[in-house]
Amino acid sequence: MLLQPALTVSGILFALGVLGVLLRRNAIVIFMCVELMLNAANLAFVAFAQQLGVAGQIFVFFVMAVAAAEAAVGLAIILAVYRHRRTVDLQNINLLKG
């Protein structure tokens, strides 16, 4: 049915997310790209759920719950970093350099 197009969209979204994480430097953009990848996975789950049963849709709920928690923690961290360093550019945040 719609499996093929849905998976394609999911793949594109995931690739966009990966590229965003790899290429962008702004922490908030990277954070949004991570969300993008999570949602790409959600789309794939839903698409498969049509054929393989309801388990995929239950997983989507889990993912959304985790993503919400992650958003709360992640945004808080980014906010703390910004207060401390006055920037959210990851290139400048390298305290762990060996």
Binding site: R25, L90, Q91, N94, K97
Partner: protein
Amino acid sequence: MAPLPLPPLTLLWVVPALPLAGSLVNGALALVAPGAKRAVSLVGVGVLVLAFAAAALAVLELAQLHPAAPLVVHYWDWLPVGELQVAFALQLDQLSAVMILVVTGVGALIHVFSVGYMHDDPGYARYFAYLNLFVFFMLTLVLGASFPVMFVGWEGVGLCSYLLIGFWFTEQINADAGKKAFIVNRIGDFGFLVAMMLMFWHIGSLDFATVFPKAATAFAAGGPVITAITLFLFLGCTGKSAQIPLYIWLPDAMQGPTPVSALIHAATMVTAGVYLVARCGALFALAPVASATVAGVGALTALFAATIALKQWDIKRVLAYSTVSQLGYMFLGVGTGAYAAGIFHLTTHAFFKALLFLGSGSVIHAMHRAYHATHAHEDAQDMRNMGGLARSMPWTAALMWIATLAIAGIPPLAGFFSKDEILGAAFARGAAQPAWYVFWGMGLGAALLTAFYMTRLMLYTFHGPNRTGDREREQLHEAPPLMTGPLVVLGVLTLLGGALNIPPLLGGGARLEHWLAPVTGVAPAAEASPTIEWALVGSAVLVAALGMVGALRLLKPETLVPARLAPAERGLGRLLWKKWYVDELYDAIVVRPVLWLSREVLWKFVDARVVDGLLVNGTAAVSRAVGWVGSRLQTGEVGVYVVLFVVGVIAVVGAVVR
């Protein structure tokens, strides 16, 4: 060859155990109460006298049985390792009987002498601990029933020799002499070890009772294996018994106390090599090349050392080279196959050489006291500082003259019979192998030199004007009876020792030879005709007389000056005085290259560069380099980590999916 279990002989262990106990007690006293000299003397001398009594009892019992096979007493399994079964067992046969009597008998006399000689020494207890320990190891050496047990004694006497040469170790020269003796002996011990391993490899046992009967079937006569074994054994002998090329330690060993020189470096330990060759007669009989080497090296050493003795001024050094020379005679004897003659000379030599050394000890004692009384710092051992001592020390002089006549080979003293027998055997062997005529000639030449240098020693020490010094002269006194007593006993033995083995030619029964027959076999030496034998005896006596008369005529004690005024030697005299420069030669070709190799290659290259540089510091450098590379990866930038993470995930997924 089954061991005969005899109840009393199981007490054979008492003979070596007594000196060991004495050594332990004296060693403890040396640590706890070094001043308890009375107790030390009592223990030190007492155990030796008791050991002599025990040895005499054991030998008496042996004499009643006079068995054809050695009496082996097995005590415990010492090294049961696979095929190698070594028991700690002692054996008594006619050969070891002679040896234990000599060791404990002469040893006891020398212990008594030491009580007087060492009395004022602060290390008195330590001295007797070492001396007793030496006797224990020497008895282990001669009583051991297998090569390993013998080797324990062999190493032990070397250790005691080292300890006693360096007894006054606070002086560098004494410590060096001890070290030299130990290191040179290591070379010989290496030979002994190799011989043992070869023997085990080919026969599978190291017990005398197994090796000797099997040797004849296990080895082809004159074959390479038996020749190698016997030559390696002989290498061990050249170390322990101071033969060319390893004799160099013995003269330096004279740095030890004089009774030590008498006991260890003249009468007993240095004869261990002769004993070993006689013990292994069954092996040497199969290796004509090795036998000829033994005889040849012995004859050469006898002659060579005698030439050096001609020009030494230190009274003990003359006697040391004389010992080397006389040991050469013994090896000439045993190498010729005349084991009884070699052991006979060993015995008589123990008597007269101990007498000579103890006599020289008594002289040095007197000289030392004289110089000590006037606070002079002259050499108490240099014959140029002596002269005319017969007037103040008549006993010592008379007894040393007896020993001198004996070692020169003047009949009817002990040395005459034994030396004559060796020379006779060598000459008789010459009929079959002409090389032995050369050996005989060398032995005869050495006899001439022996008579000469011994007369020289006596002349310079005891006769002519006194050169000690005007104030010192009144201080020269005869030694106390405790020291002259043993001299008298040894003098009697020197006078009568020849009676042990008077040859049939002179109307005797050759008793020692018959006594030793079960061990050494009946002497195979071809009997020369009586005419030739008389000629040989005559030539030996003639040569000895010639040497003595020559010395009396040529040497002028009146013209000697004290050591500190003496002019330098020239020409041949200098060459002999410098001992043919052998020490310098060894220094140049062995000592210096080894030191150079150790310093320049082993230390500066192998140790400093390879071990320290490459291995130790190299390991650290590699760790640091790896750490540096790792730290480069820790950029602290999240982006880089993510890239690596993604690459990793893709790699893992790719690998799983494929």
